[in-house]
Structure formats: C-alpha cells, structure tokens
C-alpha cells in the first residue's frame, strides 16, 4: 500500500523539500573522552572523519569491536535537544549526545536509505542510531528512554570534503 501511494520515495521526499543547517561539529579520538567542538570536520569518503574514534582503520570507539561500514559519520537533530528540555526537563548539550554533526531543520528519521548533501560532502543514510546505556554512563543523565527513535542517524560518506559550522544540508536533487 505504501508503495502504491509513493510514500517515502526519493521523488516525494525531494518534492516536499527541506533545507537545514549544520549547527555544531564534534569529534573525539578515543572511547569515553569528551567530544570537542570543531569549526570544521574533514570527511573522507568510505572511511570516516579525520581524527575521530570511528574512522575506519582507527577503531578506538566504544563500539569499534562491532565494525560497521555505514557508521562513518553520525548526525543528530538540534530539535531533539529542545524536545528533551521541553518534554523531559533534561538539559543535554550538543557535545553530550556524542554524534558528530548537530543539524537543524533536517528530518533525519526520514532519510534512512537516502542520499543528501552535508555542505560539500555527499552522505548516504544507512540506519537510525540507537540510544545506549553507554551514553547514560558517560553523561550521568537518564536519556536512554527519551532518545528512543530520535537518537540520530548513521551515514556513510560517498563524497568527502570539509564540513563547516553553518553549512547547508539539503536533499540530493
């Protein structure tokens, strides 16, 4: 039925349209370490983010023992941070959610399986991120439940480049 009405097709997503912004960029070189805010990140196609713990070949992240080719860069919605404060009274800052890119105005949950531009880089969304107890251990905040189904997006990098704070995020036309 969903096929028949064309729900979620590349055509319909492009037609409905959205444009977002890169608001924050973060990375950490090893598991457990605080994420550091960056003005720009260097994305390497098929590999990951230079200096980040999950860069393929580096493998120093908490989940590196579970290698995942589609986890080269992770994104998170700024709107989720607002919702956490509004609905659960939890202040979570952009460096605490431990994803690399915080975007605004980008419907991440709609993008699984799709390609989109993050600044000059081209990404393909592979799957939704899942919240984990590890993040509660690090932040000391009870965010596991409120983040179910809104914990961000895992992507592979199809075309690398430099992503800067303020860059536009847009659907692949």
């Amino acid at each position: 039925m969903l096929d028949e009405i064309g729900a979620g097709s590349a055509d319909s997503t492009a037609r409905l349209g959205w444009t977002g912004l890169v608001r924050f960029l973060h990375l950490a070189p090893r598991a457990f370490l605080p994420m550091r805010a960056m003005e720009q990140l260097v994305l390497v196609a098929g590999q990951g983010i230079e200096g980040d713990r999950y860069m393929i070949g580096r493998e120093e992240g908490f989940y590196s023992h579970k290698p995942e080719e589609g986890r080269q860069v992770t994104l998170f919605e700024l709107e989720t941070l607002v919702a956490l404060k509004r609905d659960a009274g939890i202040e979570l800052s952009p460096e605490e959610h431990r994803r690399n890119v915080t975007v605004e105005g980008v419907p991440l949950n709609h993008l699984v399986g799709r390609r989109f531009w993050l600044g000059e880089t081209l990404l393909e969304a592979t799957r939704l991120s899942i919240p984990c107890r590890h993040i509660e251990e690090i932040t000391g905040k009870a965010i596991f439940d409120p983040l179910i189904n809104r914990s961000g997006l895992n992507c592979r990098i199809l075309q690398g480049g430099i992503v800067r704070v303020g860059d536009t995020v847009r659907n692949m036309a």
Binding site: A28, P29, R30, A31, F32, L33, P34, R36, E59, E60, G61, F62, Y63, S64, H65, K66, P67, I130, P131, C132, R133, H134, E137, I138, F144, I148
Partner: protein, 318 residues
C-alpha cells in the same frame, strides 16, 4: 579492529613524583592530551594495572584541571599488590586503562561550611575538594588531618597548612584527637566528610548518624559490601550446547555473569531495545524486561542484557 569492547579510558603515565612517606604521585593523561571525562571533587577512578589488578584511587586534582587525573599512592608492602605494582613496575609513558570517575562531592549551594576529617593518605580526596572550593572562591572549610607523625603529600598541602585551612593532628605527640569535637554539632549549612582507616570512618559514621544524609560524606579505603535488592535472588544459567554452568549473583545481570565466565555475547544498547544480544532459552522461567521482543518471540528468546529469572535455573541455547 579490537575483538573486545573498549571498557576503559586509555591514559599514559605523564608524571611520577616522589612525595615522601612512601608515597608517589602519578599523573595520568590522554596520549594526545585530550581532555579527560569530567569528575566531581574527590571522585575516584579504577586503575587497570598492567599485571591485571584493578585498584581504586581518589583523584587529588580539581575538576577544572580535567586534562589529567592525579592520584597519590602509598606503597603498602603487605597490601594486596596494587600499590607495589604502581611503585615498582610502572614508569613514565606506560599505558594504563582507567574507569570513568565515580563519586565525589557535589558542593551544594546551601552548604556554607565544610569540615573534612582525614586519616593519613585518606587526605587525597580532600586535596581535590579543597582545591576545588578555593578555585570557586569558597573559603568556608577546614581539613583536620590526623597522622602519626609525618604529613603525607606535605609539599601539596603546605600552602593550605600555611593558610590555616589544614589542621594537622599528630597522634605521636598528642594522642588521637576527639573526633566528636572535630565534627562539631549538626548544622543545616554544614557538610562533614571523612576518609581514612576503617576504624576512623566507622567512628565518624556513628558520630554523624543523626545528621541529615545529604550533609555527611564518607570515603572508605575498602568498599562496603554492595547493597543488593532484597527481592533479587541468585540463579544459575546452564548453557545447553556446552553444559557449562554460570552462577548469576543476586542483582547481577545475566550479561555480566556470562562475561565474567568468559562467554562472549554480542551487545549494543544494553537497555533491552536494540536486539543485539537476543539468545534462545530452552527451560526455566525467564523474566523479560526488554522492549523489543513480541509475546510470541518471548516464548523462545530473551534479551541477555536485561532479562532475569524467576526460577533457580535457566537453560540457554548457548
């Protein structure tokens, strides 16, 4: 790729300082001098030593100084081996895995006065707390340091002693001070804290039994026995494919018990939603606490990370 999950923070020994009285001060830092995970004043960390021992030490530095973890270790010749390993075997540049910091003091906004009581090397968490309080401009504290003769970490404490913020009580010349008089009377805006040998912390606990719990803080050299949910019961896992029996302690997760038994289980969220650790069960009464399995699936599977058992024995398809 590492075969096993990374469970500790990787640090390198960036400094070792002789601090007198058989004490060495170790500075641990990230290999690239990245900031380390934050901590509260007086928090402690586990060190996973190269010889396999895991030992807990209080941090001496203050939270604002979060590019390093500083610990002071007294060599205990007849101890359990942790301090000997650190003193005798660990050198500059060695890699040591540490846990996330735990515990410590959260100076409350309505706490106007802190009274710290330390015995010997038990001064370490209060060095962190004192440094933190001074850093935020709170001078309303006193640290009573009870020693036999020699002051541990004398060079580190000297500025605080000179300012009269540390009062040294030498038992070799004046006998043991009256702990009750050091602690003083219950005061709503006063927090009292103690760290030292078991006898001292026990006495301190008795003296402060009537104080509000939020105004009392005790750091022990030896951890008290864990508090276990009175309703939690131990049970045994039988792994059908190998015949191995794995005991699960009251309050322990199956996942932790299996990992202790050297059984590798693929996990991810550890909260019962991702499905990574799904395992078949054959016999028993599993208690399902996940949010991923359907009622039908629960007749055959359970999630190792959150499930329990309502019977003494649970047989798993492992």
């Amino acid at each position: 790729m590492s075969a096993r999950p990374i469970t500790t923070i990787k640090t390198v020994v960036a400094g070792i300082e002789e601090a007198g009285a058989g004490i060495k001060v170790f500075t641990l830092a990230d290999p690239d001098r990245w900031d380390l995970p934050p901590f509260k004043p007086g928090a402690h960390i586990d060190l996973h030593l190269p010889n396999g021992l895991v030992r807990t030490y209080s941090l001496c530095n203050e939270p604002a100084d979060n590019s390093r973890y500083v610990i002071a270790v007294k060599r205990e010749a007849d101890g359990r081996g942790g301090s000997r390993a650190l003193h005798d075997e660990v050198g500059i540049g060695d890699v040591i895995g540490v846990s996330l910091p735990r515990g410590g003091l959260e100076p409350g906004a309505d706490i106007a006065h802190h009274v710290f009581v330390a015995g010997g090397i038990g001064v370490t968490p209060f060095l962190s707390m004192a440094r933190h309080l001074l850093q935020i401009g709170n001078t309303g504290f006193v640290l009573h340091l009870i020693v036999r003769e020699e002051v541990p970490l004398a060079a580190h404490l000297a500025p605080l002693i000179d300012e009269g913020r540390v009062v040294v009580h030498r038992t070799s010349c004046a006998g043991r001070p009256n702990l009750a008089s050091l602690v003083g009377e219950v005061g709503g805006q006063t927090m009292v804290a103690c760290c030292g040998p078991e006898g001292m912390t026990d006495e301190f606990e008795r003296l402060t039994a009537a104080w509000p719990a939020a105004n009392v803080h005790i750091e022990r050299f030896v951890a008290p026995p864990p508090v276990i949910d009175p309703d939690a019961k131990p049970f045994t896992l039988l792994l059908a494919r190998t015949g191995t029996e794995i005991p699960v302690r009251a309050g322990q997760t199956m996942l932790a018990a299996l990992q202790e038994g050297g059984i590798d289980i693929s996990t991810s969220c550890c909260g019962g939603i991702c499905g990574a650790c799904r395992v078949g069960w054959i016999e028993g009464k599993p208690v399902h606490r996940d949010r991923v399995l359907s009622p039908y699936e629960r007749e055959r599977f359970l999630m190792i990370c959150v499930a329990g058992s309502d019977a003494d024995r649970l047989v798993l398809d492992l």
